[in-house]
């Protein structure tokens, strides 16, 4: 259900909505209980702010971090790294995947290398990339792209090769060119697979950018976490985690929303997160 539909469903008859879908109350309730319990335990037992800060301290750190511009700047830097890396990964993985799926000899030659390279932990290359590309934003973009690249590539290849033989026969019976078969049948048929890859890719792009900043950076949320760790600013670190969590959710919803619009003909869309 779309957000607007959910809202209409609740406001029309709140009692009935809660009876049919108790989770619309339970989900926020669990949040309130968890955060409230956390606050109570930290304050009641006098837990040190250096071990576990209370939610109120985290909110305060968030507020402070945004008002002095520290979090805002870090957020913008990391956001740019993620988006640039992700777009780079998506475009290059799609183009290479299309080439591999269409030209048998390219697939036969390069697929073993792709499988081998995929098993390599890309994060381990980060220090080398830092030497090659430098301490600036570029190295983080490359790391994010590298980590997000493979799931998109593999899904694109599998998707483009999964077209039913019936549909290929239909197109061939109309004397379709290879380009027409690709454009009119293989590509739309591959979209559910490609979006599955894009969905995994965005999570990995966030991971890549943060780890890249851990390895070496001058700005960004990952860099801030390291700085705050050094300063024993535990509330600040949690504030960054909150931002990263919200970013992850926003990216996921964005990809899922685009997916729903693009692949409108799939009935099982409703069951997807």
């Amino acid at each position: 259900m779309k957000a607007a539909e959910v809202l209409r469903f609740i406001t029309r008859d709140p009692g009935r909505a809660i009876r049919l879908r108790p989770e619309i109350v339970l989900i926020p309730l669990v949040f309130v209980l968890m955060v409230g319990g956390w606050e109570a335990v930290v304050r009641g037992l006098g837990v040190s702010q250096l071990i576990l800060p209370a939610p109120s301290s985290i909110v305060f750190a968030l507020f402070q971090g945004f008002s002095n511009g520290l979090l805002w700047h870090g957020f913008l830097v990391t956001l740019q790294e993620i988006i640039l890396g992700y777009v780079l990964a998506a475009v290059s993985a799609f183009l290479l995947g299309a080439l591999i799926s269409q030209v048998r000899i390219v697939e036969a030659t390069f697929y073993p290398y792709i499988v081998a390279f995929q098993t390599l932990p890309k994060i381990a290359i980060a220090p080398i990339l830092l030497i090659w590309v430098g301490f600036g934003m570029a190295s983080k973009v490359v790391i994010a792209a590298l980590v997000a690249f493979f799931p998109i590539l593999v899904n694109t290849i599998v998707g483009l090769k999964s077209t039913s033989p019936d549909k290929i026969d239909l197109m061939r019976s109309l004397a379709a060119s290879r380009w027409k078969i690709f454009r009119l049948v293989q590509l739309p048929e591959a979209l559910p697979y490609i979006f599955a890859g894009l969905n995994v890719g965005i999570v990995l792009a966030v991971l890549g950018a943060i780890v890249g900043e851990f390895v070496g950076a001058k700005a960004g949320l990952g860099y801030l976490i390291l700085q705050m760790n050094f300063d024993m600013d535990i509330s600040g670190m949690f504030a960054v985690l909150v931002i990263l969590g919200l970013m992850g959710i926003a990216f996921h919803l964005l990809v899922a929303g685009i997916r729903r619009r693009v692949i409108f003909w799939q009935k099982d869309n409703a069951n997807l997160p």
Partner: protein
């Protein structure tokens, strides 16, 4: 008599088996499909009737013999053929109208010129008002009507139908047989109709080609004299019964029905 649309002589199809041997799927088939006729081909599974259609459509290469369509040899897929498969093979992201217009998009034909034709054909197959629907909103029988429209929209020389109603339930199937007869009477397209149902072949065909398997051969070509339009009631006539019994006998004698 007019020039035949498809002529095939000495047509054989030989497959290599995994064990290194060969299997003859079609054995020296000689057949002519006349202009404007509805030719039914009936035979049990494995008699090579679908292989025959795929060779006519240029989807499979032949092993021996000659096939020509309107005087030119069939060497691969061509634009002047329309095929209806057992499944409707809809593109789910296209509307009914856009599915019907697929040949125009594939062959880069002028959309504006073919649009009225697609709309008229959709009307002919009884789908007026469904142009903007998506395939998943239609029943199996309706999807197959879209498939028939799609196969006719680029005005092919021949319509090849490969067990098009085999996946439908018995009642829808009879209804579709009546519909196909009506569409054929109005469009007068040359049709090759492949089926494994003897009554369906006799009901629809001007002539019925009976095929037996291992290797796929033509046992007999039967002229069906029933006047058109035929109603479902003719299936209860003694003449219809004699024809189906005769075909069944041919298939039994060939060892086709175990």
């Amino acid at each position: 008599m007019a020039e035949p649309v498809i002529v095939c002589k000495g047509l054989s199809k030989i497959y290599d088996t995994l064990e290194g041997g060969t299997v003859r799927a079609l054995d020296r088939i000689a057949l002519e499909i006349r202009e404007g006729e509805l030719l039914a081909v009936v035979g049990p599974s494995g008699c090579g009737k679908s292989t025959l259609l795929k060779i006519f459509a240029g989807l499979l290469p032949k092993s021996e013999g000659e096939v020509s369509l309107r005087g030119t040899p069939v060497a691969g897929p061509r634009r002047d053929i329309g095929v209806v498969f057992q499944d409707a093979v809809m593109l789910p992201w296209r509307t009914v109208l856009d599915n019907a217009m697929l040949p125009a998009d594939v062959q880069d034909l002028d959309r504006a010129a073919y649009l009225p034709r697609a709309l008229a054909l959709l009307d002919l197959v009884g789908l007026k008002g469904f142009e903007g629907k998506y395939p998943f909103e239609l029943s199996g029988g309706m999807q197959q009507r879209v498939a028939i429209t799609r196969a006719l929209v680029h005005d092919p020389a021949v319509l090849l139908m490969d067990e098009p109603f085999g996946a439908l339930d018995a009642m829808t199937r009879e209804q579709m047989n009546l519909e196909l007869q009506r569409i054929w009477l109005e469009s007068r397209k040359t049709v090759l109709f492949i089926t494994h149902s003897i009554p369906e072949a006799v009901f629809l065909g001007d002539r019925v080609v009976v095929m037996t398997p291992r290797p796929g051969r033509i046992a007999e070509v039967i002229e069906v004299g029933h006047p058109r339009p035929r109603s479902l009631e003719i299936m209860a006539t003694p003449e219809f019964g004699r024809r189906t019994a005769h075909i069944r006998q041919l298939l039994n004698a060939g060892g086709a029905i175990d």
